[in-house]
Amino acid sequence: MASCALAAAGLLPVLVLVGLRLVSIPLAPLTGAIMAALAAAGCLALGGSVLLWFLGIALVAGLSAAVFVARYPGSRPWVRPSGGARPTGSANRFHRGAGMVGAAVIALAVVGSLSALRAPHIGFDARTIWLLHAVWFTDGHRTALAALSNPAIPFAHASYPPLIGGSVAISWLITGNRSDTLGVVMIALLNACAVSIAAWAVVEVGRHCGSRVAAAHADHQALPPRRGRLEAPYVAGVVVAGLLVLVAFGVAGPFATNGYADLLWSAAAVGAIGFALVLPGRRGDLWVGVLLLSVAGLTKQEGTATAVAIVVLITVRFAHHEWAQLSGVPWRPLGFGAIGVLALGAWPFLMVLLGASQNVAVFGVRQGDLVSRTHQTVVAMSGHLHVLAFAVPIAIAGGIALGQVRRASGLRNDGWAWAALALGAFLVAGTYITGPGNVGFWLDTSVHRTTFFPAICAWWIIGTWAVLGTAQAMVPRTSDPPVEAQGTGRPLDEGPPPVLHHPS
């Protein structure tokens, strides 16, 4: 019921921004959670009940979406954009089928992974941070403001962003059940939504590659496709997505279902990379990325820093392209990027403004010099990033053998995703190295969680290479006969050509 309330609040805005797509299902509760975070911020900064704030924000967002749809009929969720590489005919059957089967496979993998909720563990941080924040927001402005600067609860990380605390508070207030178990289940469901979307990005990669293979085959109509060639990218996308869900929950272990927030921001950031940096940049995909970056940035401080890094990369991606095309200052992407960074910086700024206690991750005077702390940090982080030893060679081999396929597919260079991974990892490592206290103790108690993002991101990147490896049919072989007349890329049933560029 609580997650349905979040989903109901987020549904209309998501449908308008993203469209009537399967990804909108897990995205709706996450968007509701963003609204809960905004409600918590309003309650904290200005007063009033968090529930009233939430209802007000949800109402304004819903009405705005409805007015927007009424004014701009083309933006209606059920109206498909006049473009995009959407195939027709049998390729379209695969396209739709992969969507439905992919959603079912991801849902099954998520349900299986959430079976750990049978044991209602409430983790240390769940009690000392996340559920405590929810209590403050539930109790209202005065309690939350007083707690923010209370030096007696340094373990509570009062200045952490409000998405989890706000969402749990809303769930308690709506259901009337103020139990820790409900709070933990809510957090686990949000984790599951974020993981689902990150995995869904791989299904989208498969569908995108599949449509390109179909278009390439249409150019080569003299050659009948080998059995399974058209379906392969779709199947690979679905299989990799399902496996990725299990892997992500495996990486997080008990912290996926015991009330911790690390998986939420990590998976949201990986999903944002997929939709906004790797997929070709359709409007709906970019909005998915924006919403996921909001989730990551409003969940935890590492998430905020990583989200800012990803926003910078997205800005560079689009600004570079506009610069090359226009030979002028790419104001639009730079403007959007600046807005993104400012929005993500709003919560830390508010914390300074309200005089929140400093966020102390570890107590005591700084021990060790830069060299020793760097060594300890690298050793500790690498212990949880074995996947990189597998993923880096795969990415190099993929870049060499499948780079051409990737370029033909329209997917962006995985270097963008690697850059995001590296920036996220360096930000965390830099915090350990330059931070206070005993870094050994700090690493022992947190590095297994702060490495979720680079670990899941690496798995995600190589997952996309696996899909690309099944889409090689979109590039001709040396043994293929030359094409007599370059085709138009028409799909199999002589439908309209896939339009890959549509005007703004």
Binding site: A116, D219, L243, G250, F390, G410, L500
Partner: protein, 164 residues
């Protein structure tokens, strides 16, 4: 106008036939990449699935229930000593007890480090009739010492520690 990526536009990319043909050996390497990744993902997924299944085992269920019962017991005892919303201090003499009791007290009372304004100093002490062998004890400013009541949980020692 630009054809580049943007809010409404996808990237301009070369068409499949704008690209040079690829020799079979390169295709085989590409296929090997796919198979290797799939094997890696299957191994990772099996590992993840096993870890997740282990977390939902009967042993974990009983451990989690014991943990919840332990904290519920401490909360009830704490409530019997200090009304919700009051300013209390939690003794830091034993860091482990301080951490446990802070988790119980912080959501319902206002914690302080200033003993002069606290209505009581709460400690967690090993006493019979407590929660798994420990009881919440309040030391009031007037010198009175009281043990929490209203709940008990038989057994000795705290429940298994949660992973940090």
């Amino acid at each position: 106008m630009t054809d580049g990526p943007g809010i409404d536009r996808t990237d301009q990319r070369p068409g499949p036939h704008d690209l040079p043909a690829r020799p079979p050996a390169v295709r085989l390497v590409g296929l090997a990449v796919t198979l290797t990744v799939l094997v890696g993902l299957v191994i990772g997924a099996v590992h993840g699935g096993r870890a997740t299944a282990g977390l939902g085992s009967a042993r974990q269920v009983s451990s989690a229930r014991l943990d919840i019962a332990y904290y519920d017991c401490l909360t009830t005892q704490s409530s019997s000593l200090v009304r919700p919303g009051k300013v209390v201090d939690v003794s830091t003499a034993n860091p482990g007890s301080w951490a446990t009791l802070s988790k119980v007290v912080a959501p319902r009372d206002v914690l302080t480090t200033d003993r002069r304004i606290a209505v009581a100093v709460l400690t967690l002490e090993r006493r019979p009739g407590g929660c798994l062998g420990s009881a919440v004890v309040a030391h009031y400013p007037n010198g009175t010492v009281r043990q929490g009541t209203g709940a008990s949980l038989s057994g000795q020692g705290p429940p298994p520690a949660q992973p940090l």
